[in-house]
Symmetry: C2
Subunit: 478 residues, 2 copies
């Protein structure tokens, strides 16, 4: 296995292209590093000077100490010379963030071939990138290695790991996810760019063996080696008990054209991708929202130590018959099963309903009549019905629709924690109500790590995709 | 055509079941009415008293004046007696909000049959409901007729009209939409419940002829008369230039079971529903989020006087190659076309790009290299590229990905208004960035009535669905 430690926990890092000008990306990159680093930093820039109180060397030759990792943020034509210096110095790894390689055609391809030559086909030094936003490794207290040139917040340490062929997932969109879901923690945020040398497979091989990782999210525009990828995913899922999410773009004619201009990736057939998903037991994501939403669901479940079923038996709890009908249709569409309630669950439920309206026999708990019967005590009815559903051995997952306002029908959602701990079954929440109150409620659900959705079919399809992947891996394992 | 005026603009309303107890729904119903009414109100309750300074009559017989509309909010077994009094008094219409009719089986069906009998098959008095949250009609300044027993905010008057078989769309979920999108205006919010007498068709027939209505959203769990529904939709769309959205639940086995217990609706085949969508030129919604998101897109476009194309030629503008690739795949999936740029557009674009990276020939404008070329001036590049895309005659709609933060890369989105006014082409925005800043940006986009999305495939699929419906109606019209 390739040793990637120098990319995550180097003792010393040389940064080529570190800038003293706060308007430049070379400054932002150094700022990310300096604010969060556990490594010793050696900024290198022919102009010299000082950044964040750290001496800037005018060339690598001047650096007296040994260096584990080089971060290269300079125009593409300067990269070869720098790599030669790095090899001479015995540096093990380089992250090339510059663009202008495979993705720009002939000229870029020539540079790539020269790099392959001088590195003896990437044996003298291992390379991440080029055309990427670098590696972020998050240690115990949020410090670690932050090599992106996109301004990054201090990241909460956790068990979610990202491998991405786009800077989007550790730049613009990552900022969105990290600030919207502060309770979500990460261990790796890796952009692999054009993957001239190291690809998703080397990173995946490393991450599946990291006991601190629970979920691995992979965005790629092409596969380096499909067989190896499938093998690694299966090993990660079945042996190391990881969850793996896959977002694969460039699956269509348009997408392939766009991906080619982005990272120089070649198109693979859509059918191939579907086969990869089936065989690797990955959970496929439809887009970036979906990618991180699946990650959030899995990570929250991991934190709450919930178990995922391989049979798709779910219950719906709703205060609106219309919402219940639409959710039921969506369950059919995404092949989730709504079982009949157990005798015991039905009996408990019936006791809460008015004489003029019995509950459903099947697991769509439309609780409004019970709320009327309880003279509007939504909180009490909601709790009793949630517990009835979770207690039913035939119900494996609960889809909860929640109306929330701060005034009438306020619910103490924090108290849901005890039911989660008791029954250990996943709960998904579709949340609606007065807008400002909904934002408050979303925050409360985040505290107890229950995933919230605002789009019903997203909630249902994600639930279905996780269970399907669970079933595939279980069947293969038996 | 059935005259529904008494349900929207009655001069006088008798409210059966109005309560003086603020904890009861009969109080909340009267509160909604009293706060917003342009009609004279006559609360009726055997206990008498006073609500909101208005005298409560102990029976209808005591009311000295003539009454146009009855709102009936009492247990199901009392409804028949009240209806008889209403007929005697010559009241033209009644909204029955009580539940316990078709949806509860035998007993409820008996009451229904008795009502049909005493009303001479609904000729002596027209009925909305039962089992519904009533009619809301919004007049010029937000006043009008608010008959829901769910607390309602004062609604912004506008051109969106709702017909719904669920109280969800004028209760829990409506509150969400109205508070999240205060710039969205409504004219009717009608819950038709079990539609014992009046159905979606009578309301639709009324609304398509209302010149103040632009978009009609219909949620049903069954159709009263499919042929008539299709005929009315076509007339509304082709002749009166309305847009019509259809959310039809109960299309699956589970959904049908849930709908039956909700409004007693019978299942129709999924294939039938698809045929209805094709033939009626409606825009189909997948769930409630989708339903209102489509409405928002259409209403915002109506306010901005934008034109919808019937050919699906769109451009994508992105600052992330990965986001561009994923959006391109989604366009393929939802059958949107990404054309090549015109020569003139390509030439203008190329002038903004660095020598090492040309823009795409096809209409995926990955603007990051141009931003680097402009030394990080995202605002300038964004504007120039938006205009290049909108100006291209081959581009009919723009899908814009927008990163937004208040600090670096802040963009003056309000200025986009002038480009919208100049080119009149629809723009969809997928928004991301620092969470708090994103909330601010969403608000800005709402001011200039550009629809914002947080889930990419929702944005793309809604764009595709609107254009498809446009094409169907145009082809039929030629």
């Amino acid at each position: 296995m390739t040793n990637l430690e120098c990319f995550f926990t180097p003792r010393s890092v040389a940064i080529f292209g570190a800038s003293t000008n706060p308007l430049k990306s070379g400054y932002k990159l150094f700022e990310n590093l300096a604010r969060n680093s556990i490594a010793k930093l050696y900024p290198i820039n022919p102009h010299g000077g000082e950044i964040f109180g750290i001496h800037v060397y005018t060339s690598l030759k001047e650096v007296p100490d040994s260096i584990d990792l080089a971060v290269i943020f300079v125009p593409n034509e300067m990269v070869i010379g720098i790599l030669q210096e790095c090899i001479t110095k015995g540096i093990q790894g380089a992250i090339i963030e510059a663009a202008g390689f495979e993705e720009v055609g002939e000229e870029g391809l020539q540079i790539r071939n020269q790099i392959a030559q001088i590195t003896d086909n990437f044996t003298k030094i291992r390379i991440v990138g080029p055309n990427c936003t670098g590696i972020t490794y998050i240690g115990e207290n949020g410090d670690g290695l932050y090599t992106s040139f996109v301004p990054m917040p201090k990241i909460k340490p956790g068990s979610f790991a990202l491998i991405s062929q786009s800077g989007f997932t550790n730049g613009g969109y990552f900022l969105d996810v990290a600030t919207h879901y502060p309770s979500l923690g990460f261990r790796y945020v890796c952009a692999i760019g054009n993957k001239m040398d190291l690809s998703e497979n080397e990173f995946l091989a490393h991450m599946i063996k990291d006991p601190k990782v629970s979920t691995i999210g992979i965005y790629v525009e092409s596969f380096r080696n499909v067989r190896e990828f499938i093998h690694l995913c299966r090993e990660g899922i079945n042996h190391y008990k990881k969850k793996i999410i896959l977002l694969r773009s460039g699956t269509s004619e348009y997408g392939a054209k766009a991906a080619k201009s982005h990272t120089g990736a070649l198109a693979e057939k859509e059918e191939l991708i579907k086969a990869v998903v089936r065989q690797s037991y990955c959970i496929p994501a439809d887009d970036f929202y979906d990618f991180f939403a699946i990650g959030r669901v899995l990570e929250f479940a991991f934190q709450n130590q919930l178990s995922w079923p391989s049979d798709p038996n779910i219950a719906i709890l709703t205060i609106s018959g219309g919402a219940g009908a639409v959710l039921s249709d969506l369950c059919s569409k995404y092949e989730l099963n709504i079982p009949d309630l157990s005798e015991s669950a039905y009996t408990s439920l019936k006791a809460l309903y008015p004489p003029w309206m019995s509950p459903n026999r099947f697991a769509v708990l439309d609780i409004w009549p019970a709320v009327e019967q309880a003279k509007g005590n939504l909180q009490a009815v909601m709790y009793q019905c949630i517990e009835i559903a979770l207690k039913d051995p035939g119900v494996k997952v609960l889809l909860l629709t929640s109306f929330y306002t701060q005034d009438s029908w306020k619910i103490d959602w924090l108290a849901l924690k005890s039911l989660i701990e008791k029954y250990k079954k996943p709960i998904f929440v579709w949340l609606f109500g007065k807008y400002q109150d909904v934002l408050t409620a979303e925050d409360i659900f985040q505290q107890i790590q229950i995933p919230v959705f605002f789009v019903e079919h997203e909630m249902v399809s994600i639930c279905a995709k996780i269970i399907t992947a669970q079933r595939r891996s279980k069947v293969s394992h038996e």
